[in-house]
């Protein structure tokens, strides 16, 4: 049922507006980044010909490679900690009575609606040398001298976990909500113990949620440059800090673009894994 533009002016106007916006402000800029990553740095026009792969080569420069690996390490730690805290949390949350669940979910999305910069700053009040945590530990006699908590790798990971934990919990909660009780009973009736049920039934069924959570945590954990700026000092940088410096300070667009393509590529891989896990479940379930 294809009608012409004359017959449906409204439809045509809507489609032109939507497509126009996305092509101009999503597709074109992304193509530009891909293009910039294979061009040469230029002080006046930012990027210039000739085309080359220097920016990608620069990614493997030991100096930057170290920063990237360190950033990846902190992001992976963040993701693992979020998963370790979030998995049992989501399970427990899905077992609370429905009426209270609404309130608890509300409390979980409050952080999503509040200023992440301000919340990162609040952590600084707690972690500073003469901050609350050190004072508390000293008055309890656990430590004698204030410990250096701020401007460490640990502080960055704590900050990232604090900001990103809800993004791990929410997708996990939704898969636990869909986990049907009869499947678990069936597993029990077929003679599986608690552990076997967990590894053979619960883990595979909640895997899409795990992967969605990993995707929502791992990527921002490499990009949120203000967390190391506030909590980490100059030695604990994220890929996001490198990208920001290249674009705003060093004015090296090709290199900044190449670094951001690494992030995009990681995202594509994770999305692919997520789709795969869902499809597998779909086929088995049918």
């Amino acid at each position: 049922m294809m009608l012409s533009i004359k017959q449906q002016p409204f439809r045509a106007a809507v489609l032109v507006l939507v497509w126009g916006w996305l092509l101009f402000l999503v597709l074109a800029p992304n193509m530009l980044v891909v293009g910039a990553s294979v061009m040469t740095r230029d002080p006046s026009t930012f990027i210039a010909l000739p085309l080359n792969l220097d920016a990608y080569r620069q990614l493997f420069n030991p100096l930057y490679l170290e920063v990237f690996l360190h950033s990846l390490y902190m992001a992976v730690m963040t993701t693992l900690i979020c998963l370790l805290i979030g998995y049992p949390f989501a399970w427990a949350l899905s077992h609370v009575e429905k009426r209270r669940q609404m309130l608890l979910i509300f409390l979980l999305i409050v952080p999503f609606w509040t200023n992440s910069l301000v919340r990162t700053y609040a952590l600084k009040l707690i972690l500073a040398t003469n901050g609350l945590l050190n004072s508390a530990l000293m008055s309890l006699g656990v430590i004698e001298e204030p410990a250096q908590l701020l401007y460490t790798e640990g502080a960055v990971v704590v900050g990232l976990v604090y900001l990103l934990l809800p993004f791990m919990i929410l997708p996990l909660y939704s898969v636990f909500e869909d986990l049907r009780q009869d499947v678990l009973l069936a597993s029990h009736d077929l003679g599986a113990g608690r552990f076997a049920t967990f590894t053979n039934v619960i883990i595979p069924l909640t895997l899409p949620g795990v992967l969605a959570g990993v995707m929502l945590v791992l990527l921002p954990a490499m990009g949120l440059f203000f967390v190391p700026d506030i909590l980490g000092g100059s030695r604990n940088l994220l890929v996001g800090n490198v990208i920001k410096n290249q674009f705003l300070d060093a004015r090296n667009w090709p290199f900044g673009a190449a670094a951001s393509i690494v992030l995009t590529f990681t995202m594509a891989l994770l999305m692919f894994a997520h789709r795969l896990s869902k499809r597998r479940l779909g086929e088995e379930g049918a």
């Binding site: 996305l22 800029p29 530009l32 930012f46 200023n115 609040a122 009040l125 604090y162 929502l216």
Partner: protein
Amino acid sequence: MRWLSRSYLALVYLLLYVPIIVLVVFSFNDSRTGYSWGGLSLRWYESLFNNHAMVQAMWNSLWLALTAATVSTLIGALTALALHRYRFRGKKVLNGMLFVVMMSPEIVLAISLLGLFLLLGLQLGYVSLLLAHVTFCLPFVVITVMARLAGFDERLPEAARDLGASDFTMTRTVLIPVIMPALMAGWLLGFTLSMDDVVVSTFVSGPSYEILPLRIYSMVRVGLKPEVNALGTLLLVFSLVMLMMSQWILSRSKQ
């Protein structure tokens, strides 16, 4: 087992909320150093409102969030309606693009937009901020409206069409009233996302239009600023009100 899981939930919530509580309490702290308690005081709120640049940044942010939320709600609602109602070539691509915008790290969106604006020679300021904010709010509005349309009786628009209504009339009289709660919720979410954004704004804003998150950012990078506690508390209350309004609108519409 039951009490164990309950206390675990309570512990995690406690950890999530302790920093926020500390921030709110310290915003009323009279002490200058910021770490020790010096008695109740409103002096940081006072110095906040006496700071001219800060108040200007606050107005700038509010105006930006207002316009960005409104534009993204308009475009987002039309997009959702198009995705729901029409069959057209490239529908999957459109869906995919929205999904990618939502999932991709903010910093990737930020540099791509900065590149576009600079190459086009657009001066960084209100317009560049508005275009960027609308773009990252858009997918959230589309999702909220789509969710509302998913549970909608398909026979209503068809009845309207059979009675001779044009596409535009049908949208105005049948679809818009149905998606109204989702539009309001999407608007509130867009407003909040815009008010709170740091990453994208860092790249696409210029000196001509200073906004609140960037002002906070430049303050907290160097040491502790008690005014930030006061400002953070105000922003927190503001977000809470927005979130509660949005939940109220959505839950009321379900009944």
